[in-house]
Symmetry: C2
């Protein structure tokens, strides 16, 4: 496979993955393109490569900057801005966790806490089942949340080292 073909394939795959996880396809593609570009790119180069409009490129670049995954670069003596992605994938992962935790996990936990506190006959089967489900969910989401908090703070080596130990212990059992 040639480089261009491989790039194309990678960008497509990354876009598809993104759209399966609630991230707009183009945003994921722009990110993929910047990830594999050794130099920063101008908006025009991105438009050209991905065949998208200026407005679309601009919107998604801003969204990526908002997510903390892409930065602007001003080159001396040039008007035009250049964009580049954070290349350390562990950092990218952490950044994504931070944003999604803030945007989605936190609001859901809030709702779970609210609905746990319903008034009503605690002997009613419906009430009992509801509260039990919600509490279980709240526990597990809470534990997942704690875990992600660790992941955000951890450095990559420590984090995967610790997971590896978990794994080995389990295998021995």
């Amino acid at each position: 496979m040639q480089l261009d073909e491989a790039k194309e394939k990678f960008i497509q795959a990354w876009g598809a993955l993104g759209s399966n996880w609630g991230i707009n396809r183009t945003m994921a593609q722009v990110h993929a393109l910047l990830l594999i570009s050794p130099e920063s790119l101008s908006a025009d180069e991105i438009m050209e490569t991905l065949n998208i409009s200026r407005g679309n490129a601009n919107m998604n670049l801003r969204a990526l900057i908002d997510w903390g995954l892409v930065s602007k670069e001003h080159r001396a003596g040039e008007r035009r801005e250049y964009f580049f992605a954070e290349k350390d994938i562990w950092q990218v992962a952490q950044q994504v966790i931070i944003e999604r935790r803030k945007r989605e996990l936190k609001p859901v936990m809030k709702v779970l806490e609210e609905v746990k506190e319903i008034s009503g006959d605690k002997d009613d089967q419906n009430v009992k089942a509801f509260i039990e489900s919600v509490e279980n969910l709240h526990n597990i989401v809470g534990q997942a949340d704690k875990f992600l908090e660790i992941a955000i703070k951890a450095d990559r080596g420590w984090f995967f080292g610790a997971l590896l130990k978990m794994f080995q212990r389990q295998v021995k059992k």
Copy 2:
């Protein structure tokens, strides 16, 4: 808050969460409804509660069964089928991990492995940058994949116990 209001709120929140993570809103809502129902429900009850069509209810119920999150029940002397959700949230989480790993993580890993093997001048900056990015990504996705594999096999107590230990060790540092 009354039970009905709380149920409604929970169903809405679960639907919104799902749609942010690439799971269709109605499917998540049907799942939420079944999660908090102590008794199994017929298709008609689900249609009625969520205000959706028969076709929609049927399609999403089948999808949930396909994901292993919901089962059918035949009641003696009754033609109609009743549906109920797996209530153990840890099992639900494991099931979701199994499916998404199969549907999304595996295909992406396959693409990453393919595009790593490009032909071309290894001294070319573009080739080098590309291979490096892809390899990094492949590593981290691979490690995440391994971790999820552990999670699938683990029982809840052991799993979160082990994570808790990780956490404590990190805090001490």
